[in-house]
Structure formats: structure tokens, C-alpha cells
Amino acid sequence: MRHLLSAADLDRAGAVEVLDVAARMAATQQREIKKLPTLRGRTVVNLFFEDSTRTRISFEAAAKRLSADVINFTARGSSVSKGESLKDTALTLEAMGADAVVVRHSASGAPHRLATAGWIRGAVINAGDGTHEHPTQALLDAFTLRRHLVGEDASGADLAGQTVAIVGDVLHSRVARSNVLLLHTLGARVVLVAPPTLLPVGVGRWPCATSYDLDGVLAGDVAGPLDAVMMLRVQGERMNAAYFPSRREYSRRYGLDARRLRLLPPHAIVMHPGPMNRGLEISAEAADSPRSTIVEQVSNGVAVRMAVLFLLLSAASGPASGPATEIAKEIVP
């Protein structure tokens, strides 16, 4: 793997390897001294054309804990304000000698362009592009699912037999696209729940089930008993384009509240990629319940991103180093 552009870039073995390395990275984060020397001398650029403080900080922490040099490059999206073009920015980063470029962009496919147009040589990591994908979010979600549903010591395991519902604005969600692909690769069953207006035309070809009936899905009537439910952020402004009539009706039909929480099996967890719209797609009771992994997802994000940076940059350093997991064992005793 040269780049991480889509969750589809990972096969089962590759995805499990990321989760295993992330588990080792997470273990180091319990220590007093969190910093590892692994990527000393390497340069990681956080290239953010779209504001996302939480994702940028997560990648920044991941790179710094691996001792990489981090450059934060916040650019104005060219499609919005006609600032510096993606190409010119890329050429600048190439001149700086970036080993990895973490890119966040409002245009779907912008990381693909960076990786394939011949502008730069470094590894490209998609940190969320438009309404396309957000593969590290899916990896941290899978990591969280595996921890809770398979166990702390789940090395080598996938998510076979688990059933996950993803609820909300699938049409505009890069988190949903990456999760459907990755969770399917890891053997989980996925059911998407949304009003028909917020499911893309063509969703029938995705490796998942779909439903318009949240209560039925939560009660296990549609896809069997759930092991997890993931609520997607919904922008209230979508109602202005007639995707749904009102915030209140959306919340009534597709919001996770205390009543719906009780429909879930006792072991099932509640996830949200953040930032949440409390009161719209998720009520305070659901967000703050003991089933909620929302805060834990944030810390898992750092471990998963450490794993991705490590695997991409150690693979790029040449074949002499052997299987990446072996190195991970050495540096993460």
C-alpha cells in the first residue's frame, strides 16, 4: 500500500494488520512517555483545505508521538475562494520533502488527484474528501468495534458475525462510504438506515442492506440483532433542499433517543463520528449513555492514525525492513 485513499485499498489482511498495529500503538499510549522514535527525520504534512480541527489534531498527535516532523498547512479551498490551486500547493509540499501528506478537502477525489497526477512522490492519506471517503475514520470505528465486541486481546481477529447499523445522511457521508467498505471487508454485516432521499441512487450495489425503518432495524426485525449502531451527523440545512421536511420530523423518525436505545440488545454499542448535533440525530441520553463509545473513538483515532502513518512510511522505506508487524513488535514491546 503506497497511499490510503479509500477503505477499498485495504483487503482483509491489510485491514486486520492496521488494527493490530493500532492496538500496540494504543498500548504505548498508556505509558508515561508516549513518544516513540519510529519516524524520526520523516516529514508529515497536514494539508487541510477544509476546517476540521479534531481530525487535524488527531493526525498531528499521531505523527508527533512517532517523532515525525509535522507541518500544518491550512489552505483555502480553491473551489471556494480561488486560492492557491491544489497543484501549486502540492508542488510546494514536494519541494519541502514531504514523506506523507495527510489531506482533507471539500472536493471528492482531491486526494486521488494528489496521489496520481504526478505532482508529489510522498504517501497520500485521505483525511476526508468531500462526500467520498474518510478511511481513517472507518479504521478507528472498526478498531472501536473490535475492542468492544471481540475483546481487548483481539489480535488477528476481524468483525465476522457482527451486525452494524449506520443511520442518517448516507448520501452526503464520507464516513458511511468508508465504513460500508471496511466493515464488509472485515466480515461484518452492515445495514444503512435513512430516509430514501438521503440514500444515493446506486446504493443497491453496495455490499450492505438498506432500510427506511429505524425502529425495525433497532429491534432486530430487519437485519437481525444489532451489535452496534452508528449515528451520522445530519446538517439541519438539508431540509432546505427538501431532503426532509423539518428537523423535528427527522429527529422523530431517524433520531436515536432513550426509547430507541432500549430497543437495542444489552451488549450493543452506540457510536458517532462527531461532531454531534445533539437533539437532531442523537439525544443527550443516547450520546451520554454507558453504551456510547463516542469519547473513546477520539482516543482510538490517534492510535489508528499512528498505525497508518507507521505502515505507510515504513513500507515506503524499502524492503529490507521485513513485515511491518514484526517491526511494530520491536518498537512497541
Binding site: 473551489s79 491544489l86 472536493a107 477525489g109 482531491a110 462526500t131 467520498h132 441512487v201
Partner: protein, 437 residues
């Protein structure tokens, strides 16, 4: 000694038929038959070459005035000549818009000065392409450019009342409205064909229904007011069904398809390479099949290039930011050969009809799209159908480098183009412009 302007095409196969000789003199085909005497004419060895009437493009963006960094009348018509064209229709979406007699006559004059092909300006239907009020269609028709095709191409004439009036009004001078069928509301922010691929790529969809609903409306309007309607760049199987139905009812509708919609599908967009961004978007394999069949059975009348050159920076960016359009003049005939001839759907006579006779008839272009017969204008293209070439954008005459066929091997090559008896292309390379006599 050879007389200038006299050419003997030796052993060419008109419309792919039996070899014969054609003698061109003073802009006309003056003799046809085997074993013609050269009589001072320059002899062109046509062994193995197919002769077609010079191609006529109903849909070309020459970008002048306004975007001379992307194309000029000079560079665009050079590209046209290399592609075997002897006439092109220059679309109206220039800066300023070709919505007055002054602008259309400027383009027409630039075409005459360039001397590579006829340049037939298309007039805008509405002032500034804004879709609010009619441009002075009659004045453009009556002027030196004698405009017959009117189009807001790039934008749809969305207002049904305005469309109705335009269809009616141009009947007075035998004009035709060429509609760019795209419901603007259904395609707000659209980036690619809406379907399986857009769902995966997270690009906003351009649904087939946005084209089909306008086509359905406009064929009914054309029937109601008994006017001619031309449909630009038809791209979906559903559109084909509606046009077939309309023609069955005797509605005076004609339609074009682009070469790229005959060959490429939305699968190309998986690369996110903006060279594949075009409007209407690349569709599915089922649509491609339906378009080929419709072109073969005459439901679709013509192939038009929708040649749309863009400056490099308008394509060298992320998908959402990129301009829509592809170059097409220098590859059109090869793509048609690959998709229609080599598949057995059309013979050369059928190709001559779709790329020359029919577009000339729709555009009311005199002296173009005529049979290869004695007494007819000497607009002739010679093709080597056995040639194969790898597409190299940097070797093209168009200023635009945005060909979707970069690196692809295509069949067939234009060997020579005669524009009113004057060779604009010789041995596959650009020769000289035709000077006004």
C-alpha cells in the same frame, strides 16, 4: 507542370465502394471514373483510401472571442481540417456571447480569413444565454453570416414559454433551435452521471431524467407549433426512446450524439481525472449501446463533436473545480470508425450521412454534405481505414490538451482534406489555408 488547385485523386474508394479517380478543379469535382488523364493536375495516390464528402460539425466550441488561451478560430479550424472537416458550427457561448449580428459576423469573418473550413456561427437563442428574452435571431439570420442554427448551448433554454416562442419565431427564416437538454434544477451542482459509480465516488449526480424530461417537453412543443427542433449531445437510452417515439409521430426533430458518448462510460470517472469531466456526463455501457443502435437506425441523425478545448489550469485541478468538456475534432472520425464501422453497425456511406450530409442539411449549409459526384463542390476527405495511431495530445493542432483518448490506440487516419478543391491537409499533415480568390 501542374496547375494550382487541380488535383487528381487516383484510385480512391468513394464511400468505401469500388476504386475510381476523381478530378478536382476550380473548387469542383469535374470528372469521375477510372483511368482519368492527369492533364496537368497534381496526382494523389489514393490506393486503399476511402473518400468521403468533407465532414460537417454541428457543434464546435472555438472559444473566440474571449478565451483565446483555450482556442482560436485559427487553431480550432486547423484541428477541424486535420479531422477531415470542411465546415464547423461555432457555438455561441463565447465572451461576449454570439447574440448579436456583430459578434456572429466577427466569428464568420475570422473563419473566412483562417481559410481552413467553413465557419458557420451559431447564434444565441437568448440575450447573454441568460434564458430571459430572445436575442435578435432574425438580424443574425439576415446578416452576412446567414445564421440558421440557434443555441444557448452550455445552458438549457429552460423556460417552456421562451422555448416555444423561439421554436416558432425561427420558422420565418428556416432556422432551427438546437437545445442543450438539461433541466437546471435537477442538475444543480451535478458532477457526473447519477448511478452506481457516482454513489461510490461521492460525486453529485446528473440524472438521466434531467435530459429526458427536457427532450420530452421539447418534442411536444415542436409538434404543437410545427417547428424544427435539434437536440444537442443526446446521451441516454431514455432520450433515444423518446426521440424514436417523436419521429414515429412525424415530429421534425433531429438529434446528435458525440463521439465520446459512443465510446466512453462513467467508469472512467473512477480515476477522478477531470479530462473525463464533460456535460452531459459520460453515461453507462447500456446507454452507449443504445446510442450506437440509435445512430445506426437513424433515430440519432448526426455525430457532432462538442469539441470543447480548455486551458490547462482549468483541467489540472480537482474534479469539482474542473471545467466540463473534451476536445474532439481530431479524433471524431477514428472514434466513429471504432464504434460504428468496425462493429458492423454502419458502412462508410452511413458514416458520410451522419457526419456530412445530415449535419449540412440540419444546419442548411450550402455546398457541404453533397455527394461525391461531377459538378459538386470539391469538399473531400481521404481516409486510411487501415492505419492505427496512438493519441498524443501534444501533437494536436487544437490548443486544448484535454483529449480523453491520451495514449489510446485508435483506428483510421485522415490522409488528406480538400476544402473547396484546396488541400488543407496532405499526407496526414496540415498543408496550407485556402486563400479567398
Amino acid at each position: 507542370m501542374t496547375a494550382p488547385g487541380h488535383h487528381l485523386l487516383r484510385g480512391v474508394r468513394p464511400l468505401g465502394g469500388d476504386p475510381t479517380d476523381l478530378l478536382l478543379r476550380d473548387g469542383l469535382i469535374v470528372e469521375a471514373g477510372r483511368g482519368l488523364a492527369a492533364a496537368g493536375a497534381r496526382v494523389i495516390d489514393g490506393d486503399g483510401l476511402v473518400a468521403l464528402p468533407g465532414l460537417v460539425d454541428l457543434h464546435t466550441h472555438l472559444r473566440e472571442p474571449g478565451r483565446e488561451d483555450a482556442e482560436t478560430v485559427e487553431t480550432g479550424t486547423r484541428a477541424a481540417a486535420l479531422g477531415g472537416f470542411t465546415a464547423v458550427h461555432a457555438m455561441a457561448n463565447t465572451e461576449p456571447v454570439a447574440d448579436t449580428a456583430g459578434v456572429v459576423e466577427q466569428v464568420w469573418r475570422l473563419g473566412r480569413e483562417a481559410g481552413w473550413t467553413d465557419v458557420r456561427p451559431v447564434g444565441a437563442v437568448t440575450v447573454g444565454l441568460r434564458g430571459e428574452r430572445l436575442a435578435e435571431l432574425g438580424t443574425m439570420a439576415d446578416g452576412a453570416a446567414a445564421v440558421r442554427v440557434f443555441s444557448d448551448d452550455g445552458r438549457c433554454v429552460g423556460d417552456p414559454v421562451l422555448m416555444r416562442r423561439a421554436l416558432e419565431y425561427v420558422k420565418a427564416f428556416d432556422g432551427v433551435i438546437a437545445q442543450h437538454p438539461q433541466d437546471p434544477r435537477l442538475t444543480d451542482g451535478a458532477q457526473m452521471h447519477e448511478g452506481d459509480v457516482s454513489a461510490v465516488l461521492g460525486l453529485a449526480g446528473w440524472p438521466a431524467v434531467a435530459e429526458e424530461s427536457i427532450i420530452a417537453r421539447d418534442v411536444l412543443l415542436a409538434e404543437h407549433v410545427r417547428s424544427r427542433l435539434h437536440l444537442c449531445h443526446v446521451s441516454t437510452a431514455g432520450s433515444v426512446e423518446i426521440i424514436r417515439w417523436a419521429k414515429g409521430r412525424g415530429i421534425a426533430v433531429t438529434a446528435e450524439v458525440t463521439p465520446h458518448h459512443l465510446l466512453l462510460t462513467d467508469e472512467e470517472v473512477r480515476s477522478y481525472d477531470p479530462v473525463f469531466k464533460v456535460n452531459p456526463p459520460l453515461r453507462t455501457a447500456d446507454d452507449v449501446r443504445a446510442l450506437r443502435e440509435a445512430l445506426a437506425d437513424g433515430t440519432i441523425d448526426v455525430v457532432a463533436t462538442d469539441h470543447a478545448p480548455h486551458a490547462g489550469e482549468d483541467k489540472d485541478c480537482e474534479w469539482a473545480d474542473a471545467a466540463e468538456g473534451m476536445t474532439g475534432l481530431e479524433t471524431a472520425l477514428s472514434v466513429v470508425q471504432a464504434t460504428m464501422l468496425d462493429t458492423g453497425l454502419l458502412d462508410w456511406a452511413g458514416i458520410a450521412c451522419r457526419l456530412s450530409a445530415a449535419p449540412a442539411r440540419i444546419g442548411r449549409v450550402t455546398g457541404q454534405g453533397r455527394p461525391l459526384a461531377v459538378g459538386e463542390p470539391a469538399n473531400v476527405v481521404l481516409i486510411d481505414p487501415a492505419a492505427r495511431r496512438r493519441v498524443d495530445p501534444s501533437a494536436m493542432a487544437t490548443t486544448g490538451r484535454n483529449t480523453p483518448y491520451r495514449g489510446r490506440e485508435l483506428p483510421g487516419a485522415v490522409v488528406a482534406t480538400f476544402y473547396r478543391g484546396h488541400p488543407t491537409v496532405c499526407d496526414g499533415a496540415l498543408a496550407t489555408r485556402r486563400e479567398e480568390s
